[in-house]
């Protein structure tokens, strides 16, 4: 069974023009997009679960990247959204950097060990790869992002 990122995401999982002013606003807007995509049944519910996770420790992993995530009963199918925000946002990041690259991960409590979860784990690991991060940061279009995620 393949677990390539590209098997799970398409253009609708990529938001190149997010214009949030705060971390919470970014998460909320992305939660609404997940709801529109049919991945989440209740955006507000999911939003609160993500903020709860954020309150435990920051998901700002440094390098202007954050990976907010929520395990929530409102998640219909585990998935992720990639977003680039127009301005850097305060995120209590590990290295103090502000965030403009967001990988929002939505996890269904039922998807124990399934392929979607494996995809998220794989993506997380990739974020430690300097070349991957450099490519993601310099990409300007959703096609480019998809191409990088597929590689």
């Amino acid at each position: 069974m393949s677990s390539k990122l590209s098997d799970f995401i398409s253009e609708k999982n990529i938001v190149m023009d997010l214009h949030a002013k705060t971390r919470d606003e970014a998460i909320h807007q992305l939660a609404l997009i997940l709801q529109q995509n049919g991945s989440v049944s209740d955006a507000d519910d999911f939003y609160h679960d993500v903020l709860h996770r954020e309150s435990l420790t920051t998901t700002g992993i440094g390098n202007n990247i954050a990976i907010p995530h929520g395990k929530s009963t409102s998640v219909i199918q585990s998935t992720m959204l990639f977003a680039k925000n127009s301005e850097p946002l305060a995120w209590h990041s590990l290295d103090g950097s502000e965030v403009n690259i967001i990988f929002l991960m939505a996890v269904s409590p039922e998807s124990k060990g399934d392929a979607h979860l494996r995809m998220l784990a794989k993506l997380s690991g990739k974020l430690m790869d300097d070349d991957f991060v450099k490519a993601i940061k310099s990409a300007q279009t959703s096609e480019e992002i998809l191409k990088i995620l597929k590689s």
Partner: protein, 104 residues
């Protein structure tokens, strides 16, 4: 001979930090020329499980965890560095260096 490190990573949700910490430990251990094997205890269960002989042969153990290590008895008596996953995600080199400092 290259020093041998074994590590366990585990975070609360088991989705992201477990796997980021594992990759970062591997990345910096390789950079510095150490052997490493990392067991992940995440949402997909225990993966890349360390055998008792691998643990016994290791010079040092790293627990990069925000929660309890499963089956900790396996590591009894080993020199162990315990850190949080975020620390390892932020600075993998420092975690490796601290672990090696325990045995040098």
């Amino acid at each position: 001979m290259a020093k041998k490190i074994v590590a366990v990573t585990a975070c609360i949700a088991g989705i992201a930090h477990t796997y980021m910490a594992a990759e970062n430990l591997k990345k910096f251990a390789k950079k510095e020329g150490y052997d490493i094997k990392v067991e992940t205890q995440g949402a997909m269960g225990v993966e890349n499980r360390l055998s008792q002989s691998e643990i016994d042969a290791a010079d040092v153990v790293i627990f990069a965890v925000d929660t309890n290590v499963q089956e900790p008895d396996r590591f009894e008596g080993k020199k162990t560095l315990k850190v949080g996953t975020s620390e390892v995600v932020k600075d993998g080199k420092s975690a490796i260096d601290q672990a090696i400092a325990l045995i040098n």
